[in-house]
Symmetry: C2
């Protein structure tokens, strides 16, 4: 049996990458063989988060059907934002915080969408519901996603649940949210980084 691939959307942002890594971790703890992947280049903000918490980039996969028969979508559900060959595989789960559109399955699946500011706010609930502890470095990634999607709690999409989840994750990761948050958002805005990385 091939691995289940866990993927965020095209042009991945910090939530898509960190949700894929953290949800794949949770599914592995629950007994599934799941691998996080990415559909495109990782941006500087995300690189900063990965470096801080000592993660490698997920593997770049362009055609999921060559590698897997089943996938899990995080941080998106619309077909046009997903892998080009999505219709050749079975979507067995979705965890997302966006509107639902252009999504259809032939079989029942686990679909968890909530109107919160970030996917990892929902993933934190799923860790708890399944009695799995969030490791320190995974908590750092999940916190990074919330900071990124809510612009450090300032976006209109930010909810009290996101603020509460960020607090919990910051405690686990032992991170000063305001200080780290500004550093993370600065890393994303800093164009000089781009030159260094390229």
């Amino acid at each position: 049996m091939s691995n289940v691939l866990v993927l965020g959307h095209k042009n991945p942002d910090t939530d898509s990458i960190c949700s894929a890594i953290s949800y794949a971790y949770l599914k592995n703890e629950m007994g599934m063989v799941a691998e996080p992947i990415r559909l495109g280049e990782v941006n500087n903000e995300t690189l900063f988060a990965l470096k801080t918490f000592e993660f490698d980039q997920p593997r770049l996969v362009n055609q999921v059907a060559k590698e897997a028969s089943q996938v899990i979508l995080v941080d998106h559900n619309e077909r046009q934002q997903s892998a080009e060959d999505l219709n050749e595989v079975q979507v067995i789960e979705v965890v997302d915080h966006h509107r639902i559109a252009n999504f259809e399955t032939t079989d029942p699946l686990f679909f968890r969408a909530e109107p919160v500011g970030c996917t990892t706010t929902i993933i934190l609930k799923l860790f708890k519901e399944n009695g799995v502890e969030v490791p320190m470095n995974i908590a750092g990634l999940m916190l990074s996603a919330i900071i990124s999607d809510t612009l450090l709690f300032k976006s209109p999409t930010c909810t009290p649940q996101d603020v509460e989840a960020a607090k919990e994750l910051a405690n686990i990761a032992n991170i000063d949210v305001q200080k780290y948050g500004l550093d993370l958002l600065k890393a994303g805005a800093d164009l000089s980084n781009k030159t260094l990385e390229d």
Copy 2:
């Protein structure tokens, strides 16, 4: 502000009716003003469950937009199975156990689908996650839905989660599952009832 209407599918079965009543109860406990409704005639099996646990039939509503601006769908998500004027209202939540198709929103929402045998198996989780106790008579309705959808645990769609949920609900409702289950399924199959009711 008008009530939020909670509705199952057209040609309602026991799960659609009992999920609407029990989820509306939960939402009311959580501070929403929600009313369960039905889109069609209630069958004999469902009538037996309602009578046993002393519930009235939910109100029959043909056009939801005349009464509400927001609705919650239970036990279905496909547009053609729902209220005819569904596109004139906002779907704010879905709790379901079917495949996802012909469903689209303009805004993020709470969408909870799981590949289990019955909607009330998921609703029981939502009671627990929100720290709300299931009252005895609501537990009886929720149990009836599981018995109905899984044909007393014999259908191929029945999962260990449905069996476990039924056990918990039977304890709360103080019901002998096998005895009540056979009576319920018999009430649904008994065509002589139909003549009596009509």
